[in-house]
Amino acid sequence: MRKVIFLVVAISFLIADDDGGFFDLFERKKGVEPIKNELYSNECGSCHFAYQPGLLPKRSWRKMMQPQELEDHFGDDAWLPEDIRLEVERILLEKSADTSSYKRSKKIMASIRESEAPLRISRTRYLDRKHDEIPKRLVVQEEVKSFSHCAKCHTEAEKGIYDDDDVDIPNYGRWDD
């Protein structure tokens, strides 16, 4: 009897965290939730890799998606027509890091303060620390340019997987630490 109670408690613990019922139990949620949305990839994936919404909290996306912010988006003009802007913002808010049960989203959330609304994913404390051993020349080189270009090094980034086992830096190769 004791064992049965124990098993029930253990299993409910495992499921408690998730939203999609029993099969979620086996689904891997180690990365960030992948995004498959044509509008989003077209509008936000042309200059750089289309970042998953789960890489920043709502407050960051809201700030970034303000019309005047988009006009000066890291020095570029990323202006969008109002209807598209609202739709993209909706997509971002729906799957933002603060609503996600994926591990890397939670890690990013845990590493930023409530009062902060960072616009750079690559400068959050979590990623700053993760990336601090990488020599600068490998980042600024022509084939990568900056930490903003996640997919240049993270071969599975499109799938939301950022595992250090899947890193392959141009002109360097696999990362062993």
Partner: protein
């Protein structure tokens, strides 16, 4: 038999350039996919600890004929795997412990619960066969399982 193996091997070798294009082959040679990594080792040790832990706990019924010796061996193995999981975790993932990120950080939860689980399992085999060791063992295996799920 040996002829067949040779023929198949030859065919595979011949077909290789057709199956993979030149760029892919070059890629494979320059950057072989990560094979068995430290992360994998850590993962399998953790799984192994939970699996053998569950077996140790469930196969044994005090009066049902399963012998105590098997139960004991399995519990020892489970604990050894758990200690191995904690050891490899500390060795290759210590940078994921960020005390200042607090309890919200899933890796902090994983490290705390996994470590506590292994301690409880070690306590359980140290106390065995006395009463009470079963509770510690079950709690230990349970915490390990939860810990794995948290960063799965």
């Amino acid at each position: 038999m040996r002829n067949i193996v040779q023929i198949v091997t030859a065919l595979v070798l011949l077909a290789f350039p057709l199956l993979a294009n030149e760029k892919e082959i070059e890629e494979q040679i320059l950057n072989p996919p990560a094979s068995f990594t430290e992360n994998d080792l850590h993962q399998y040790l953790g799984f192994g600890a939970v699996a053998t832990g569950i077996l140790a706990g469930t196969l044994y019924r005090p009066n049902s004929g399963t012998d105590y010796e098997t139960h004991e061996k399995m519990a020892n193995l489970a604990t050894a795997l758990a200690v191995g999981a904690v050891g490899t975790g500390l060795y290759s993932h210590l940078d994921d412990l960020n005390v200042d990120f607090g309890w919200r950080d899933p890796d902090n939860q994983h490290i705390f619960l996994g470590g506590l689980g292994a301690l409880l399992m070690a306590y359980s085999i140290a106390e065995a066969p006395d009463g009470g060791h079963a509770d510690a063992g079950m709690a230990g295996v349970g915490l390990m399982a939860i810990s794995i799920k948290l960063t799965w």
